[in-house]
Symmetry: C2
Subunit: 345 residues, 2 copies
């Protein structure tokens, strides 16, 4: 995964919005620019990494730049807490501490900043995790857009769980905890004033309790991933690539709320590419599928959990995600290239 840039970079090459979108351009930026700088000897940069010397602890960091700051169902403050908790949860960990670093634009109304921070504090309290340290920087007008928040989380692994994107196996059941497309369409609709925001609210919420509910599965839980930037398509492609397996999805089984489908139709978006902030995919051993679904459905945030597909037996196409459509056709689900929805998280 870690390689030197294969060709000298032209002077003129510049960062594009798509480099931050979670798709192929992001992977290229990581592979050619970020990882080589860190020497590579530390292995791939993961969303949540083991803390050296402390097997039970994982660490994750995320910058939040969502625009607008407030949207139906949440705001940048609650999102910064949920996103970080969920990165820990996808490694089978529950959060034990958060840090919060603010970069604030000069001139932001203090009342607006307070509202964001109150929401952040409330989200942390509801998730049962303390904010233990922080930092505040102020930059001049025009040098940032209102406020950016970087949240870092430390989590403790649940005993017996070690899910990894590289651990999907032939025959695994692919589960999805709730409908897709809500977060991205809610933010985009609010930002652009498209009017869907009356019917659509972000699904932003913490997922660590859902993961804890899966803990009894132990090593029959193979993969967890929350389909944020790049949506379900990116999450499934990453898992297929990292595990070297082919994934088969049943289009009819993937829950897309009506208003999300309508919004995506009009905007020319594929719901599979739209970011989510409150659902996850779980790959589990076939004999654990029913128990896993029951566990997910035992909590409100997993009440809509469904099985959406399975991992194929070795078929000569490792790394490929295929979707069976309603009429029985099969189409390849590609990794999104770049930016459809900038500043979505």
């Amino acid at each position: 995964m870690i390689a030197e840039c294969p060709v000298p970079r032209a002077e003129s090459e510049r960062v594009l919005l798509g480099h931050g979108a979670g798709g192929r351009l992001t992977a290229e930026l990581l592979e050619h620019t970020v990882l080589p700088a860190f020497g590579g000897q530390n292995g791939p940069l993961e969303d949540a990494a083991n803390l050296p010397g402390f097997d039970a602890l994982v660490m994750t960091t995320d910058g939040f730049v969502v625009s607008p700051l407030f949207f139906p169902g949440g705001d940048i403050g609650s999102l910064a807490v949920h996103g970080t908790i969920n990165d820990l949860a996808m490694r089978g960990a529950v959060p034990i501490a958060l840090s919060v670093a603010l970069i604030v634009e000069e001139g932001l109304e203090l009342g607006r900043l307070e509202a964001v921070l109150r929401s952040l504090g409330k989200a942390a309290q509801e998730a049962g995790v303390p904010v233990i340290t922080g930092d505040t920087k102020v930059v001049g007008r025009g040098a940032a857009d209102q406020v950016f928040i970087t949240t870092t989380g430390i989590g403790r692994r649940l005993p017996g769980l070690s899910p990894s994107a590289s651990d999907a196996r032939a025959g695994d059941a692919v589960l999805l905890s709730s409908p897709i497309g809500l977060h991205g369409t809610a933010v985009l609709s609010t930002r652009e004033g498209l009017g869907f925001e009356a019917d659509i609210a972000s699904d932003t919420r913490p997922l660590h309790r859902l993961v804890a509910a899966l803990a009894p599965l132990g090593d029959r839980l193979h993969v967890l991933r929350d389909p944020t930037r790049g949506g379900l398509a990116a999450a499934l492609n990453e898992i297929a690539r990292d595990s070297g397996v082919a994934v088969d999805i049943d289009e009819g089984a993937v829950p897309v709320p009506g208003p999300v489908a309508a919004a995506c139709d009009i905007l020319g978006l594929d719901p599979l590419h739209v970011a989510n902030e409150g659902c996850m995919v779980a790959f589990v051993a076939p004999d654990a599928a029913d128990a896993a679904l029951a566990a997910l459905r035992s909590l409100p945030e997993g009440s809509g959990a469904v099985r959406i597909g399975n991992v194929l037996a070795a078929d000569g196409h490792p790394g490929r995600v295929v979707m069976r459509t309603a009429v029985g056709a099969r189409r390849v689900v590609d990794m999104p290239l770049g930016e459809q929805l900038p500043r979505i998280c």
Copy 2:
């Protein structure tokens, strides 16, 4: 320290540059806006905090927004590593892991981003700490200024050391590890093209080895603080306030390099208020002063260590920092109010 805002905030109140400068306005922002939002039950937000349930571990986070990205002696990449390592070191800890979150402006030259990241990776490697996880967000042109970096560090406390800004005691010797004023004047001079940058280079460097050299002092090492934003004046005032003691400094003993003094004279700055990124103050028991100085001077980064003053016996002015000038007068060293030097770190 944690209190509700005593009066309703006017709609018109806005964030000022000075709110991020490390002085009195920063303290007000923390006290009235940030801390109440986090419920207060977690205690004061410190630069580096104990990780709940893991007594040996501390966590710190810092956003870096320095402008320009490159300056004599360093750049935003190395600074982001050193600043975070030093926050850990001031709690008596050595770094065991870093995370790095980038917020990049669309259009930044990839070569420039690579240079920053290479410097960051090199600084981490030289300090012996791995970057274990990261995040990259891209925002549109004009929504950020080139690149902001938030670094979070986890450190392991050195056995027997528990320095705290609230632990200064009457009679303590006040030591300073190296001359002051270099970082702030180097950055300012570069940004404004003042021409001092030929003679002044930032002192940015990691201080954890200096702290490790002090470890044999054990509980005779009372306070460590690196005088970053707000300079030596802010650091000493915070210690005096948090410990409830009066601090007496000998002006003639505080090393200010000639070019720094000249730059400050012309710019109307007090060198005591200028940010540093490679020196620290240590408060040690009187009988440990000589051993501490010898330990500091045993390393290149502490070769210029000096004693600059002491903590007074209870004198009725706890929280006050006083400086004896060359002509024998005494003046109060105030906490800087707000911003002298924006975007210095």
